[in-house]
Point group: C2
Chain length 160, copies 2
DNA sequence: AGCATTTATCTTGACGTCAAGACATATCAT
DNA sequence: ATGATATGTCTTGACGTCAAGATAAATGCT
């Protein structure tokens, strides 16, 4: 009887006609992701990066040398709107973690380049971040983790 | 090879020392919840309610007669901060969906009461909302749904 | 070549969220 | 009783996000 069960039982009492099976799954997913997001953010903030800043820096870092992508590329990889990406890049540029470099091949476009400081910030953070992610799933068994990942993959396939 | 697999393989190439198992699960969870949240919001907006507005109205509705809870009660049930709840109540009060009623038992406190219009708004929306939730999970088999729900329950237990 | 369309990025204005702290009232300990 | 502490709600200021549209350059069509 967790919190989601309480919500479901309230609906059952008030609206017994509603089928709440889907609500259970979506409710647990949402609550879980909220908790996980907060835990992840805590560790990143301890290293001086917001989740959204880390999201961009990590995308550039894992793209490999020369650690440059256009805003459009970043957009396609990060599930945010173009306005949000402009804002993120502005913040990171102010902080000195990225630079806007003119794209010689297309003057509409620009390349976002990780600076030395930006590279260093990712490298100083990603280890603790990954360790934290491992901690967050540690109460699942190996079988649970494999089963959960497989189910999420199947579920996610409907949307992307 | 979904989008999360692409991210993992980039990390593998750039940082083969990192164990990305946890990143896979948390990444799929986050992407999935983002997609689901957008789908849910679309349907609610078609009925004139934001997700956050529906969240409060539905909490009052399923609490049963007389459809009144204190801001603190609402807070405890909805995973938001007190400032956020004040803001939500302000919006709903302006829209005429709830009223602030003085609590005779504790003058620090106030009760948030669903108005007739607020009740009607929930009742007009909840059916489509639940149907939409069912649609969103329809590509999972019955066994998948049961297994996923069980895993999420176990995972969530670590946090609440 | 020249015009229309498409692509890439940025701007604007609105919203939802939070942490920290302010304020009023209630409760507790003596 | 009364002073200290706890509780309940609201305020403030800062962020992150989005949709819609503005701007500029590239591409395609004739």
């Amino acid at each position: 009887m967790d919190r989601v069960d309480k919500i479901l039982s309230q609906w059952q009492r008030e609206r017994p006609d509603l089928d709440v099976e889907a609500m259970a799954i979506l409710g647990r997913l949402k609550r879980l992701t909220t908790h996980l997001g907060r835990e992840v953010e805590q560790v990143l903030l301890q290293h001086g990066l917001s989740s959204s800043a880390f999201d961009v820096l990590a995308t550039l870092r894992r793209s490999g040398k020369p650690y440059r992508l256009s805003p459009g590329d970043l957009l396609a990889m990060t599930m945010v709107s173009s306005g949000t990406m402009t804002n993120r890049i502005d913040q990171l540029e102010k902080a000195g973690f990225v630079e806007r470099v003119l794209n010689p091949d297309d003057r509409r476009s620009v390349l976002i380049a990780l600076t030395e400081n930006g590279f260093a910030a990712v490298e100083a953070t990603v280890g603790a971040h990954v360790a934290n992610q491992q901690r967050l799933i540690e109460n699942l068994s190996d079988e649970d983790k494999a089963a959960l990942d497989a189910l999420l993959r199947k579920f996610l396939a409907k949307f992307e």
